[in-house]
């Protein structure tokens, strides 16, 4: 903004206005995602009211939250990897794997449930470690590495659970995906809080720095290899958590239900304003994106759109979101 324009304004208003514009521009992608979420929510309520003749109640809210949890966890993990200019296509395989392990090993005792949870998260982290080492130390392209490990993880998942089955204790379901009340919102809040802290940790700063400029990050003393590996490890762990949520809400295991999460996690983070070129975006955006993705599915369901067309609309919404986000980003930069 030219300085003459500011000259005739009161002196006090200047910094406030700047801080506000700055905050808006900095968080534009997340705000845009939030706007999309609100629009889809309003549309959803309107269509629900029109077709069901009453407002969506506790059941609908609980189902939506429980449906979103696995995707929200996977999207938060995908965000971390994409921030480093990478991509994790093996998310679906890790979800398959953790889902299968949980369904086969969970028993109805507190010891078993906590032990299995920790074990599954560690296995997810180990899977992420393999990805991270191949990408950062092996200097291979993320998209190729994770395409190959996706195949490996899917194979392992089917070995563990050849047919859909296994069982998840009712208590475990109640804890992770309570069918009676949207308790899972606690986990969403937890994920958000973790991101808030992570963003300010040295690792979080390192991951964002790598995404912006790996060379500059390295020159400034950031251990690029370590930060990159950690991004994949955390993504693997979050994907495994997603698999646990999925098993809990389905009360059973299926070694192939995770497959769709690879693409949907990417859709979610793009809707959530994370830049695929790295360095820009937040896990909160990814989580909001996950909610939008599920809302769109709900919206189409209650609008009685033929379910077969679902992926068509998902694709169209994805494109609209990307084009809108880049358009608004462009306008914001031009004004700033």
């Amino acid at each position: 903004m030219p300085s003459e324009a500011l000259a005739d304004r009161p002196a006090i208003a200047k910094p406030r206005r700047r801080a506000l514009t700055h905050g808006l521009t900095q968080n534009a992608p997340v705000l845009l995602a939030l706007t999309m979420l609100i629009v889809s929510l309003v549309l959803y309520v309107a269509i629900f009211l029109l077709t069901q003749h009453h407002l969506p109640g506790g059941f609908e809210i609980t189902t939506t939250v429980n449906d979103t949890m696995p995707l929200a966890a996977a999207a938060a993990g995908q965000t971390l990897v994409v921030l480093t200019r990478g991509i994790d296509l093996s998310v679906g395989g890790i979800i398959d794997m953790s889902n299968a392990i949980a369904a086969v090993t969970l028993r109805d005792t507190p010891a078993s449930m906590s032990l299995v949870t920790v074990m599954v998260l560690l296995i997810g982290a180990a899977a992420g470690l393999v990805n991270g080492l191949l990408v950062a130390v092996g200097r291979l392209q993320p998209i190729l590495v994770t395409l190959a490990t996706l195949s490996i993880f899917q194979g392992i998942a089917i070995r563990i659970l050849p047919q859909p089955g296994g069982s998840v204790p009712q208590i475990y379901t109640n804890i992770l995906a309570n069918p009676n009340a949207p308790w899972s919102l606690v986990y969403i809040a937890l994920l958000g809080a973790l991101w808030w802290a992570f963003r300010r940790s040295s690792l979080g700063v390192a991951i964002l720095a790598i995404g912006n400029d790996p060379m500059a990050a390295s020159s400034n003393g950031i251990n690029v290899v370590r930060a990159r590996v950690m991004a994949y490890v955390l993504a693997g762990m979050l994907a495994a958590a997603g698999g646990l949520f999925l098993a809990a809400s389905a009360t059973g295991g299926d070694a192939t239900t995770g497959d769709s999460f690879t693409l949907r996690s990417i859709v979610a983070i793009v809707l959530g304003g994370v830049s695929l070129f790295g360095g820009r975006g937040s896990a909160v955006g990814g989580i909001i994106g996950a909610f939008i993705t599920i809302m769109i599915a709900n919206l189409l369901f209650f609008a009685h759109v033929n379910q077969l067309y679902e992926s068509f609309f998902e694709g169209v919404f994805l494109l609209i979101a990307v084009v809108a986000a880049s358009g608004i980003g462009y306008l914001a930069r031009r004004r700033a």
Binding site: L134, L140, L144, G155, L276, S311
Partner: protein, 323 residues
């Protein structure tokens, strides 16, 4: 040829094509030990025919990877093409030419939309083609009613089935078609302005733009070609199998990318050749056949597949240090 000239001829790219061919021959040898007769003529021919399907898709994938892009919309453009061919031809020869044009046009159009989104709207290639895959999937499923439409059960016109299955001088027509594609694509890439511009854009889009290359037009054309080749593969596949089915395109995404990479095309663009990708397709399909010969269960194949791709990548897919 002197040693010096030999060294000069053996560039990194050519060496990788040789590695891919060597790996294929080695795999045939291994397969022959596991099951005598695996390297026999009939079996080699079967492998090559299957490889030609992967090879056709890989042609389009090579084009877009050469400019640092990627085409994730392969599975459902291929699948949509297969279904569109049978539903528009209804298995009648007289409708075959119209159905062929319609199907190829559909593939090229979908690819062109990909290219326009990437070149003009600045959508990242991964997102654009991912969205296109979803759009094609939704349209295919929705319009065919989940493959329940009465025309969906039609067979491919006998003309097209014959064109794939017939033999000329004892060799299946599918292989002649692939040979023609290899020659044409290689010619276009190495000996035309368009091909040189493709490599230039892949190496440095900004420099090529400043040098007067129409980067947007090249991008749109390459993605349109990729869509066209996916549709062509769908047509050949439905001619080979007789009928279309849902999900028939799914294996071709992973396989086409893997073939291109095994064949030494640099995933960030600018380097590589279609001959390499074709050799990569043969290697990959031979590998799958060997695993099938070993009676390995599905999960084992999936794991081995991933491990071998990783090993090949570690052997020669690494980026230079410091990049």
């Amino acid at each position: 040829m002197s040693v010096m000239a030999m060294r000069q001829w053996l560039t990194v790219g050519r060496r990788r094509v040789l590695y891919a061919c060597g790996a294929a021959i080695l795999l045939f040898a291994v397969g022959n030990v596991l099951r005598p007769g695996f390297a026999g003529l009939a079996s080699v021919e079967a492998v090559l025919v299957v490889a030609s399907f992967v090879g056709l898709v890989a042609a389009g994938q090579t084009f877009v990877i050469l400019i640092g892009g990627i085409d994730l919309s392969v599975p459902w453009i291929l699948n949509a093409a297969a279904i569109l061919l049978v539903t528009s031809s209804l298995g009648e020869n007289i409708r075959a030419p119209y159905a062929l044009l319609l199907t190829l046009g559909m593939g090229a159009l979908a690819g062109m939309v990909n290219g326009l989104g990437i070149a003009l709207l600045g959508v990242p290639a991964v997102v654009m083609t991912l969205a296109m895959n979803g759009i094609m999937q939704g349209l295919t499923l929705g319009l065919s009613g989940g493959m329940t439409c009465s025309a969906c059960a039609s067979y491919a016109p006998p003309l097209i089935q014959q064109a794939v299955h017939d033999r000329l001088l004892g060799i299946p027509m599918a292989l002649y078609l692939w040979l023609a594609v290899i020659l044409i694509v290689s010619f276009v890439l190495s000996l035309t302005m368009f091909g040189r511009a493709t490599y230039a854009v892949g190496t440095n889009p900004r420099a090529s733009y400043l040098a007067g290359v129409n980067v947007s037009a090249i991008t749109v054309t390459l993605y349109a070609l990729s869509g066209l080749f996916s549709a062509l593969a769908g047509i050949i596949l439905v001619g080979f199998g007789g009928q279309a089915s849902l999900g028939m395109g799914d294996p071709y995404l992973f396989q086409s990318i893997a073939a291109v990479v095994i064949g030494g095309v640099y995933i960030l663009g600018g380097r590589g050749s279609y001959v390499g990708a074709a050799a990569g397709a043969v290697t990959l399909v031979t590998l799958v056949s060997v695993l099938l010969t070993m009676n390995m269960p599905d999960y084992g194949r999936s794991i081995t597949y991933g491990v071998i791709i990783l090993m090949l990548l570690l052997l020669y897919g690494r980026e230079e240090a410091g990049s």
